[in-house]
Symmetry: C2
Subunit: 205 residues, 2 copies
């Protein structure tokens, strides 16, 4: 990704949401271009046209920056939509997720998971926080479906979301099988059938 | 793993199953000790006390050797048992798999999946072949359950096995959540519920 023209001095953004957007966009672009291991705060700063101390002041370190960029991206790319029809809404989650994974940013995320970097303790911790946050975002969707009688009362949101994501990640990261929209639809069907059979209650282990 | 004493000249094994076992055991030990990327045919040969041309003649290359060692290990570690009770047999698959993943060899397999090596084309191809083979091994288990009326007639073995493995790998490779026997039992329950609801038919995409 190249700039349209040379940056002018007056372009340097100050504080506020513009800086945040510029930095997170630059972090993702760096992730796509050079990968997680080679990503540096210095290069992100240069790309976003801000000073690197701005990034350190706001995000603390490189991993928090990348985690924030990924969370932001996931919220935008795989939105949790509530149309009061759980069948359609779960299929929508699965399809958006498959579509996201075939985008350049999604491929960068998958490549990060398939890299030596993914075992670094700070990356492990960031992954755990990221998914806790994502699963929590679907809580109201599931609560609505339970209230309408579409899902059993004890259905656990995290278990439901894991069941949708799991077969898609399995194909990408483990079995090396292709992922398509029909894989997404199947994942949503399996999750729904399991939930309705009472197999997706909160875990006790 | 250290030898009990120095190898004598007369110990060098000839052809036959003994060589195969010695080489595959050495390959796994190397995988555990140094990891996939650093594993060499030379070091495996030294460890197995055979000449490296023996390995090249028999396995062709490093990746075929590692793939064979993993297939052999998986057959031994996660056996497909048929007691004519699909509920118990699927739980057995899931539990053996979780137990295997916490062994040194299992951890080496997971570390290989979480490494830059996992994206190498020959490793991608080996992974695909490995799981095709593994899924095929469960065909008679599923056929028996269908014949006894425990599963719907169109249940697809590969989809059933993917549904069991997927949430376990998701926790290890993606969400960084702990894996326990209760995770295994939950995976087996979900797969069974989905199969019985007709959500695990052969895929058309």
């Amino acid at each position: 990704m190249e700039r349209e023209g040379p940056a002018r001095r007056g372009d340097r953004p100050g504080r506020g949401p513009k800086v945040r957007t510029a930095v997170l966009t630059a972090a993702l672009a760096e992730l796509v271009d050079v990968g997680y291991a080679a990503l540096t705060v210095e290069n992100v700063a240069q790309r976003a046209n801000v000073h690197k101390t701005t990034i350190y002041r706001r995000w603390g370190d490189r991993d928090s920056l990348v985690a924030d960029a990924m969370t932001n991206l996931a919220r935008a790319s795989v939105p949790v939509r509530d149309t009061r029809d759980i069948v359609a809404d779960l299929r929508h989650v699965a399809r958006s997720f498959v579509a996201f994974l075939s985008s350049p940013a999604g491929r960068a995320v998958v490549a990060t998971l398939q890299s030596d970097a993914s075992r670094m303790p700070e990356v492990v911790a960031a992954r755990r926080r990221f998914f806790e946050d994502r699963f929590r975002q679907a809580d109201s969707l599931v609560a609505g479906a339970i209230a309408r009688g579409e899902l059993p009362a004890e259905t656990d949101t995290a278990e439901l979301m894991r069941t949708i994501l799991a077969p898609i990640y399995l194909r990408l990261l483990v079995t090396a099988e292709p992922v398509s929209e029909s894989v997404a639809d199947s994942a949503a069907r399996v999750a729904l059938a399991a939930a309705r059979a009472g197999a997706l209650r909160a875990e006790r282990g």
